[in-house]
């Protein structure tokens, strides 16, 4: 089952490599990884999507929590949460029909065209992983994808719960 693990850690050199190291040395899966400093620049928030049974996920959260640089770890998927991922996708739009079709699908998915060239569009889309996957499939049917880049999932718990030091 897919899980979203959110980690609050010191924004210190080497902290990221230690977390990634735990995953590789203990044989856990990393499906996506998203990391950046928080509103407090001394802290970073890292969101990792992974999969495994309950025992594996429990070990992942414990082993990550054990790292000296880590303040808090939470499995967002245990409770109601908001998750978002951003994708940029560059598509070849060689004909008028293709351009129209890409534009139409972009509107349907509430995505945005952020760069326009004679032969291609670059589209920005935000949403859940499933939505991004669906958009990529749709676009692939009406135009050729030149390249794409995804941020990986980031997320927050809904309601009062929060990950704070």
């Amino acid at each position: 089952m897919k899980r979203i693990i959110s980690v609050l850690m010191e924004n210190a050199p080497g902290a990221l490599s230690r977390i990634v190291g735990v995953f590789s040395q203990r044989g856990y899966n990393v499906d996506s990884l998203c990391v950046a400093p928080t509103d407090d620049p001394s802290l970073s928030r890292l969101t990792i999507t992974t999969h495994g049974d309950n025992k594996v996920i429990e070990q992942i959260t414990k082993q990550v929590n054990k790292l000296i640089d880590v303040l808090k770890v939470v499995d967002l998927t245990e409770n109601a949460h908001v998750e978002r991922e951003l994708m940029l996708v560059k598509v070849a739009t060689r004909t008028e029909t293709m351009r129209a079709e890409v534009k139409r699908n972009t509107d349907i998915f509430r995505a945005r065209i952020v760069d326009v060239n004679a032969s291609n569009y670059t589209i920005e889309i935000t949403g859940t992983t499933d939505k991004l996957d669906a958009f990529a499939t749709t676009i692939n049917q009406c135009a050729e994808i030149i390249e794409s880049s995804r941020t990986g999932v980031c997320g927050l718990a809904r309601g009062e719960r929060a990950l704070r030091p």
Binding site: G14, R18, E58, Q59, K62, I68
Partner: protein, 572 residues
């Protein structure tokens, strides 16, 4: 505020932490630090012959005292040579700080001479590490390193020091932090009250309780309180390889070591128990055998300071996060409110059963008049040291014999590489013990394979007049490998024998020590006596033991805890 160079800060900070001994080896990147060491005599530096041995010495020092062991090495090969020593300490949760030199900051990443990414290399085998970037940060980094190494679940910490920041030419203000606190690191020491209550409930209603005591009891200096708890509960106690000595090996409730080479009674107790109180043990695969068949009737109470150790391999019914000493104290206080007299009656059939298992005397072996039995050597060693010596061990058959046939009376008396199983650990560890306890008898039990993995330290022993006693069980083979080849590979001894053994007596003498060769059973007692009569000399006892001896009891692979071979022909 005192002004000093980065190098002087390193030494000053070590003094402020209370370091007495640093085990190390100089080189280009740490020459400035060595120069600062030269100017003082508060921190004693021990010059080893190989950096791996420096780490093992610091480890032996730490295991025998509870204090943090300290290592100082240069960059590149100096640093990488400590890796096995760091991994050994990590697996056994031993507090250690390794100070490694690094190339100057501006050359990091350029593949400079003797450059290695030490923080990267050591990352999976350290509790934490620091790459110090400014001289003024040195005191804080060292203070934090020692704090982290010896709090919570102890472990090794690496402090990587680029050459430019320890430069003796530049001076900076020195200030050592009075207190170390870190918002991201606060180990839980006390057990949760609700969990303590549940544990007491289970322990006081159990019919077949057992205490399963591991290295955590030693690390938290909980020996006395664990013994008190065991006596209060009147339960049988078994110790892991790392926990030996947590309760005296001669205590009447002690049923011996458990696990792969555990005693029959210890493994039987575990398998048949209805309540297991695990104190600072981690349900290692060398204990549990097949986890699917592990102790099917037991309520498992698992006390450990590391939450990640709980329910990692075996599911705990009552997890208690906390240090063994604090939790054992909490359990005792909670038990004060219980009348345990009824419990004593309830578990008396259990003791009858336990004593019946004991009567099998699983450690008996066939004595011989032709060849020296390794078990007999350990028994003789016990006799001639009055059971009081520090025994360090290498890894292999001799390690198991030393664990089984020498009842350890005190914690920190038995020193061995349990988790990593590092051959070459024994001699340097025994040296670290001797540095920490100059007046004590420090023995290493080793074999002809293991001793040759760090034999160069005989030279260090000469330099510092270390009267370590080396008891080498020489069977002209890698005994444990050979045992497995006997059992699983139809006696095909692929590379487990040694064809060109050195003359160990001459070798010891070449290093300026005493060598004694023992070849017949009737010489053993006298030779052992002679060995310990040299109180101020290192003695190398090269004892020819029976090559065909196996370590028994031994768990049968894929079986339950108590599925065991008791000899070459008998099984449970």
């Amino acid at each position: 505020m005192k002004m000093m160079s980065g190098a002087a800060m390193v030494v000053e900070a070590l003094k402020d932490v209370g370091v007495t001994h640093v085990f190390g080896y100089p080189g280009g990147a740490v020459l400035d630090i060595y120069d600062a060491l030269f100017a003082q005599d508060e921190v004693k530096h021990v010059l080893v012959r190989h950096e791996q041995a420096a780490a093992h010495m610091a480890d032996g020092y730490a295991r025998s005292t509870g204090k943090t062991g300290t290592v100082l090495v240069t960059s590149g090969p100096g640093a990488t040579n400590t890796i096995t020593g760091i991994a050994t300490a990590y697996m056994d949760s031993i507090p250690m700080v390794v100070l490694s030199g690094q190339v100057p900051s501006m050359h990091i990443g350029e593949d400079a001479f003797q450059e290695t990414d030490m923080v990267g290399c050591s990352r999976p085998i350290v509790k934490h590490s620091f790459l110090v970037k400014r001289a003024v940060d040195i005191p804080e980094a060292i203070a934090k390193a020692f704090y982290i190494a010896n709090t919570g679940r102890p472990g090794p910490v690496v402090v990587d020091l680029p050459k430019d920041i320890v430069n003796v030419q530049e001076e900076h203000p020195y200030s050592f932090p009075q207190d170390v606190s870190m918002r991201s690191y606060n180990p839980t020491e006390k057990g949760h009250a609700k969990q303590i209550k549940k544990a007491v409930q289970s322990l006081t209603t159990a019919k077949r309780p057992v205490l399963y005591v591991g290295g955590g009891a030693i690390a938290s200096d909980a020996s006395a309180i664990v013994t008190e708890l065991a006596e209060r509960l009147n339960a049988p106690v078994t110790c892991t390889l790392m926990g030996l000595g947590a309760i005296s090996g001669t205590h009447e409730q002690f049923v011996g070591m458990l696990g792969m080479h555990g005693t029959l009674e210890a493994n039987k107790c575990m398998h048949n128990a209805d309540c297991i109180l695990a104190l600072g043990a981690r349900f290692d695969d060398r204990v549990t055998n097949n986890v699917d068949k592990f102790c099917p009737h037991a309520d498992i109470i698992h006390v450990d300071i590391d939450p990640a150790s709980i329910s990692k391999t075996v599911n705990a019914h009552i997890p208690v996060v906390g240090s063994v000493d604090k939790v054992a104290q909490q359990l005792l206080s909670a038990l004060d409110k219980h009348d345990l007299s009824e419990q004593r009656t309830r578990i008396s059939p259990w003791w009858e059963q336990v004593n019946q298992w004991r009567s099998r005397q699983c450690l008996n072996y066939a004595a011989s008049e032709e060849s020296i039995k390794p078990q007999a050597v350990i028994q003789s060693l016990y006799k001639h040291t009055g059971g009081e010596a520090f025994i360090s061990s290498d890894v292999g058959q001799h390690q198991m014999f030393a664990a089984l046939y020498y009842p350890y009376k005190k914690p920190r008396q038995w020193i061995n590489s349990g988790g990593l199983g590092t051959m070459g650990f024994g001699l340097p560890a025994a040296m670290g013990v001797q540095f920490a306890h100059p007046e004590a008898v420090s023995v290493v039990v080793t074999g002809d394979g293991s001793i040759q993995m760090n034999i160069q330290e005989l030279s260090t022993c000469l330099q510092y007049n270390l009267p370590v006693k080396i008891i080498s069980l020489n069977n002209r083979a890698l005994g444990m490998v050979r045992q497995w080849q006997d059992m699983n590979y139809k006696g095909r001894y692929s590379h487990s024998y040694m064809d060109s053994m050195p003359d160990f007596v001459k070798l010891a003498e070449a290093y300026g020590h005493v060598g004694i060769k023992v070849e017949h059973p009737d010489e053993l007692d006298e030779a052992m006596k002679r060995c310990f009569s040299y109180t101020d000399r290192l003695v190398f006892m090269d004892i020819a033991v029976d090559q065909n001896e196996h370590v028994y009891p031994m768990q049968i692979k894929h079986g339950a805890m108590d599925d065991m071979r008791l000899s070459k022909t008998e099984r449970t």
